[in-house]
């Protein structure tokens, strides 16, 4: 289980995160929501150890992530960032194979190859497995990168704005894949989302950030409330229930 304890981060005298603490429930999807500049991406970066915090610590199973070795942590937590655009000519299968790097150091064993094939199957990438990742469409490429993370086989998966630049169909497809990762493979998924409705529909829990502080957190029902969200995003909004699911209307 991941616990964020009193994390703060200051970028050249601007406080981006200010004493943020919470726990992330295992085997669930947790979304970070909030306005631009609230510190969501920085927080995700700190949890994944890509960014060093200025104060506080992140604990994985009661042990600070800074005490884990690089490849040990890489077997527990994986992160996919939008800026991880790789301008390399690798095939989909090769890319997914590199997900096994923390386990094999790059020399794939029989077991690694099985894991790669399973990831290819799981994300329905068999048809394009020998294609260059640069030849794929945005949605397919995103799926290939998720495949790499599935092959990495970490119990925690962090994603920074995975729906960025995806159209409606691919956004839904992506969220369904993440839902399956949690429900079927028992993964803990943490993601930064901009679309509050996608977050509400597919998450188990939500963390709303504002000005570097936790503004609200809890189950979807606890966070997706008119008073809470209006103060987080500073816009008037309405919440309607359609078929028992909350939909936020803000335009």
């Amino acid at each position: 289980m991941i616990e964020v304890r009193d994390i703060s981060k200051i970028y050249s005298s601007v406080t981006v995160l200010d004493g943020v603490s919470f726990r992330i429930a295992d085997r669930s999807i947790t979304s970070f929501v909030g306005p631009n500049g609230a510190g969501k991406t920085t927080l995700l970066g700190i949890i994944s150890r890509l960014i060093k915090p200025d104060g506080g610590e992140v604990l994985l199973d009661e042990k600070s992530i800074s005490e884990y070795g690089g490849s040990d942590l890489a077997k527990r937590i994986s992160i996919l960032k939008q800026s991880n655009f790789v301008n390399m000519r690798l095939t989909v299968r090769e890319l997914i194979g590199f997900g096994r790097f923390p386990h094999s150091g790059g020399r794939l064993t029989g077991e690694d190859k099985d894991m790669v094939e399973r990831a290819v199957e799981y994300l329905d990438l068999a048809e394009m497995a020998e294609k260059d990742i640069n030849e794929l469409s945005g949605g397919q490429r995103q799926r290939a990168f998720i495949g790499m993370i599935v092959a990495q086989d970490t119990d925690h998966i962090l994603l920074d704005e995975p729906l960025n630049s995806l159209d409606m169909r691919h956004s839904v497809e992506m969220m369904r894949i993440l839902r399956r990762l949690t429900d079927e493979l028992k993964k803990t998924v943490v993601l930064v989302l901009h679309d509050i409705n996608f977050a509400a529909r597919y998450s188990d829990r939500m963390v709303a950030l504002k000005n570097g502080k936790v503004a609200a957190l809890g189950s979807v029902d606890e966070v997706v409330r008119e008073d809470v969200l209006a103060s987080v995003f500073d816009v008037p909004l309405e919440i309607r229930e359609i078929d028992g699911k909350k939909i936020c209307i803000y335009y």
């Binding site: 994944s48 150890r49 890509l50 070795g69 690089g70 490849s71 040990d72 942590l73 890489a74 077997k75 937590i77 994986s78 992160i79 996919l80 960032k81 800026s83 991880n84 790789v86 301008n87 390399m88 000519r89 690798l90 095939t91 090769e94 590199f98 997900g99 790097f101 923390p102 150091g105 790059g106 020399r107 260059d132 990495q152």
Partner: protein, 317 residues
């Protein structure tokens, strides 16, 4: 390009290159073990061939590593300040420490090449240059700056001619006993083979590397260390061979992709083949005289590079 054809071509041309030169050597001379002819073979022909192959393979792999580490296809020891820095180091060694011979040349050229290359990579990581063309431009700029310092020093110590001679690589003076330092590249290249997978992961960027548990800084340092030593050794023995380190990795990448473990052999083989073809051309074009290899590579390389750029544009659309 199939690897096997390249290997066959390399083998055939290697044998052919042994028989090109002012003193004609025939197969009969070898069979009858004509002693002075065999001596020529071992004194000049074989060393020259070895030097060409090692330089071709070594510099190409340097380019490949630098292109992955900087994530930019236009970076190589030539455009990344390594070659100019090695010149500077070699000059310092020649002026102030000539009594120590090759050891001081090696030490200073390698140390300066390392300093220049690390400075360049540090710069582009610090400035976080986003645009693709800015990175090699920055490298060339840094290289010119370092070359200017070297030229200044050369003027003060009357060494301008030596400096300009180092800038145009040549295999003419390669003879047995004067080129063996080049073999230092071989273990460097072997280390590169061992690290091939790690360089590929590093090529995916610092964040991906961290997420996959790669010791990014360590891998970058090893890669740049290999590059610096090989560049230094080549600059000392052969001189600067422009473009080779830039073009060969790009050509291989276009046909074979960017997974280093698959492409590093092809890069080495193709680099050796490319330089060997240029060398044979250099020796034949105004026979019995020869054109400096740097010139041939520059001309053939520039044309190839232009074709490559046009093809790449077509490919990317």
């Amino acid at each position: 390009m199939r690897t096997i054809y390249a290997v066959i071509a390399l083998a055939v041309l290697s044998c052919a290159s042994l028989f090109i030169g002012n003193i004609p050597i025939t197969l009969n001379d070898l069979l009858s073990w004509s002693s002075d002819k065999v001596e020529v073979l071992f004194l000049t022909r074989f060393p020259r061939l070895a030097a060409v192959l090692i330089t071709g393979a070594g510099m190409s792999i340097c380019g490949l590593i630098m292109q992955h580490i900087t994530r930019n296809r236009f970076v190589s020891p030539t455009t990344g300040a390594s070659v100019n820095s090695a010149h500077f180091g070699l000059l310092v060694a020649t002026i102030f420490f000539s009594a120590y011979g090759y050891i001081s040349s090696l030490f200073f050229a390698a140390a300066f090449a390392m300093a220049g290359t690390f400075a360049f990579v540090f710069l582009i990581r610090k400035i976080k240059v986003r645009s693709l063309e800015m990175v090699p431009l920055l490298g060339i700029m840094l290289g010119i700056l370092i070359e200017a310092m070297a030229t200044f020093l050369a003027y003060r110590y009357n060494m301008v001619e030596s400096l300009s001679a180092w800038m145009i690589g040549s295999f003419t003076w390669i003879i047995s006993g004067r080129y063996e330092l080049l073999y230092l590249s071989v273990p460097m290249v072997l280390i590169a083979f061992i690290y091939a997978n790690k360089f590929t992961v590093a090529g995916m960027g610092e964040d991906v590397s961290l997420s996959l548990g790669l010791k990014y800084d360590q891998v970058v340092n090893i890669g740049l260390g290999i590059t610096s030593v090989v560049t230094a050794v080549v600059v000392i023995i052969v001189g600067a061979v422009p473009f080779l380190d830039l073009i060969v990795p790009n050509i291989v990448s276009l046909t074979k992709g960017d997974n280093l473990r698959r492409t590093i052999w092809d890069t080495a083989i193709f680099g050796a083949l490319f330089l060997l073809i240029c060398d044979i051309f250099s020796r034949l074009v105004i026979f019995p005289y020869e054109v400096p290899i740097g010139l041939t590579v520059g001309v053939i390389g520039s044309i190839t590079f232009l074709i490559l750029l046009f093809r790449r544009r077509a490919y990317e659309r």
